[in-house]
């Protein structure tokens, strides 16, 4: 297995007469054996970056290393990597066995070694019985396993995954996610995985690279990104429903800071007030996750720092074990997530409790998270 490094990598395309910078000065370090997930919306540049690492595109600037080799301009066949495509890219006229053996035959491996590797990978992925079938005779999940198997037999320096689960139905996606995680654990392989699904990112990634508009917004473990987002994009991209964000002003009242917006006056905890003291009287964007808003006096309110606020309840969506409560806070429309049995009136004027310990503050102009000076 090998590390993957990228320094100041950019990629510009010409599209209808204009230049589009799909990847902008990206620096990446993926350790040996690490499962790195690149997540972002469509057009964020994550797939373009993956293709740059694969060699299917040439960077406009910057360098890429796989292991200790500079592979920036090296042909894909000489990079020692294997890739699982979004549409699997199985050769339709070949059997599963031929698909999996193809690369090894091109590399002139001995026949017995090819047979052994193919059978081993097939056993690992439980597709031994499918080896003589053609791709058109396989289901989506089976094709996906064959595509993974084709990558495994290569014993590559690194695996690249381009949204491999996006063509599967929701149930199969969950199953394959678990299998992929187990596979990675067994192989201890370096992997660069691209997805637009934040759930996949959070469950699979040892480290997550959040991308938007060609730029890496934040890198870190899933919990880190979730609890301490670097900016409003990361804050709203991760989490379902996304983090509530609304404009407000930080006012100082004696030794405490208040979040003030219309008639809302939410005092921050003493600790947060101390942390953000230097930002008093500033216009900020306030973020609070839906699960940190609760019905008054409900069981959710276990830690100190919960403050009540007057709201206007709109709609409740029942999801079985929990419910989403849409409400307005002044002019802002927000959402709360709470257990299904939380005591709450149906709609109209009411009160909800906000966990002020968990409030995030972002600069209104730059959208970056405020950090204590």
């Amino acid at each position: 297995m090998a590390k993957i490094r990228a320094r100041n990598v950019s990629k510009t395309f010409r599209a209808k007469g204009t230049m589009v910078e799909a990847v902008k000065h990206v620096d990446v370090d993926i350790g040996e054996g690490e499962f790195a997930v690149f997540v972002g919306p469509s057009g964020s540049g994550k797939t373009t970056f993956l293709r740059l690492v694969a060699g299917l595109e040439l960077p406009t600037s910057g360098q890429i290393w796989i292991g200790d080799r500079d592979v920036t301009t090296v042909h894909p066949r000489a990079r020692g990597i294997a890739m699982v495509f979004q549409d699997y890219a199985l050769y339709p006229h070949m059997t599963v066995r031929q698909n999996m053996a193809f690369a090894l035959e091109n590399l002139k491996h001995p026949r017995h070694e090819i047979e052994q590797r193919v059978n081993q990978a097939a056993d690992m992925l439980q597709i031994r019985a499918l080896l003589e079938r053609r791709p058109r005779e396989l289901s989506g999940g089976q094709r996906q396993r064959v595509a993974v198997g084709r990558a495994i037999v290569r014993q590559p320096a690194a695996f690249l995954f381009d949204e491999p689960l996006s063509n599967l139905d929701a149930k199969l996606r969950v199953q394959m996610r678990v299998e992929l995680a187990e596979l990675h654990r067994r192989l201890a392989a370096t992997a660069l995985y691209v997805t637009h699904d934040q759930v996949e990112a959070m469950t699979l990634g040892e480290r997550i690279f959040v991308m938007n508009d060609g730029v890496i917004q934040q890198v870190g473990r899933g919990t880190e990104l979730y609890e301490q987002p670097a900016n409003t994009f990361v804050a709203s991209f991760l989490g379902s429903p996304p983090m509530n964000l609304f404009p407000a002003r930080l006012e100082a009242e004696r030794e405490r800071l208040l979040v003030v917006q219309d008639e809302l006056r939410l005092p921050l905890t003493a600790e947060l007030s101390r942390r953000y003291q230097s930002f008093a009287h500033r216009e900020v964007t306030v973020g609070i996750r839906p699960e940190h808003i609760a019905a008054l006096n409900s069981l959710t309110m276990t830690e100190p720092g919960w403050m009540p606020a007057d709201v206007h309840l709109l709609i409740t969506e029942h999801l079985g074990s929990e419910k989403l409560v849409y409400f307005t806070l002044g002019a802002q429309r927000l959402v709360a997530k709470m257990p299904e049995d939380a005591p709450l009136s149906a709609f109209g004027a009411g009160q909800l409790a906000f966990n002020t310990n968990r409030i995030q503050l972002f600069d209104r102009t730059t959208n970056q998270a405020l950090h204590a000076g």
Binding site: R77, D87, P92, F102, A103, N106
Partner: protein, 309 residues
């Protein structure tokens, strides 16, 4: 009037007003011209051809008797029949591979070009196909003019080679016709192959790159197998077309010299329209139909595939 009788009287009106009826009616109205032409000039003539192949149908007799398989037997006893079948077979074997490989090769080349340039070359290669075959053959007659004024002999003269008779020589006539076929009529194949190659997902080539496949390997293991349906189509149609070649033989050589370019269809034509034995001509047409069908079935048997991307 009773209720039932009133309903009966109003039935045609209700039918005309029924929406589905109107839709089907207009469909048939628009299909009618084609069905009429197809029926008269294809189905009727085919059936009539089968019928007269069993009759002593000539232009010299008003009444025609059923004579069973006599026409077929006479055709098969005629040495010119076997000679012309051999000429057609030789022509087919010599022209079909080129008629497939050459358009494929050109399509591979233009596939590497910018899309706009690709579209230009597709049109450029296809355009000559709309020219009349008679005109094209007459141009080749001029090219292969046996005197020094012909283009081919003019080129040979540049290298000090004496003028050739081309269509006028029994040994050179058929190769000249074959050469003429190599350089004409493949524009449609280029368009078909180019379209087929366009439909091959780019991700397969990218996967092949990552699978350490060479350029030749991609050609052999990706492109060629995945355009197999187009290859099968061209194989069948060019084979049928080659067996049916008549126009070039008729215009350029009149089947000669010394029957050197008497293709099977040319022989059918002379039997039916020069000797005026239409019954025997029809029988030979049926023989040709059986041969072509058998060849097509064999081609389908060994080459058919259902590739699904």
């Amino acid at each position: 009037m009773s209720m039932d009788l009133r309903q009966l009287v109003r039935w045609p009106q209700r039918m005309l007003e029924h929406r589905a009826y109107n839709e089907y009616l207009w469909a048939y109205i628009f299909l009618a011209p084609f069905i009429l032409i197809f029926g008269v000039f294809t189905i009727y003539t085919l059936v009539w051809g089968v019928v007269i192949s069993f009759q002593d149908f000539t232009a010299f007799r008003a009444e025609h008797r059923f004579i069973g398989l006599n026409n077929y037997a006479a055709a098969l006893r005629d040495p010119v029949t076997w000679h012309s079948l051999r000429i057609s077979a030789l022509y087919t074997v010599a022209t079909v591979p080129v008629g497939i490989l050459w358009p494929f090769f050109l399509a591979v080349i233009i596939q590497q070009l910018h899309p706009r340039l690709r579209a230009f070359y597709r049109s450029a290669f296809y355009l000559p196909g709309v020219t009349s075959g008679v005109v094209m053959t007459l141009v080749w007659v001029w090219i292969f003019y046996p005197m020094a004024g012909g283009l081919a002999n003019g080129l040979l003269n540049l290298f000090g080679i004496k003028p050739q008779l081309w269509f006028g020589d029994a040994k050179q006539a058929l190769p000249s016709l074959i050469f003429m076929s190599w350089l004409t009529g493949w524009g449609g194949g280029v368009v078909l192959y180019s379209a087929a190659m366009n439909n091959i997902p780019q991700s397969l080539y990218e996967a092949a790159d990552l699978d350490c496949t060479s350029a030749l390997g991609k050609f052999r293991h990706i492109t060629w197998p995945l355009v197999k349906p187009t290859t099968l189509f061209l194989l069948v149609t060019t084979t049928i077309g080659s067996f049916q070649v008549f126009q070039s033989a008729y215009i350029a050589t009149s089947g000669g010299p010394q029957l050197a370019t008497t293709t099977f269809v040319y022989h059918i034509w002379t039997t039916a329209f020069e000797i005026l034995h239409l019954g025997r001509g029809a029988a030979m047409s049926m023989i040709l139909t059986i041969i072509v069908m058998a060849v097509a079935i064999i081609q389908f048997r060994y080459m058919s595939t259902d590739v699904e991307y």
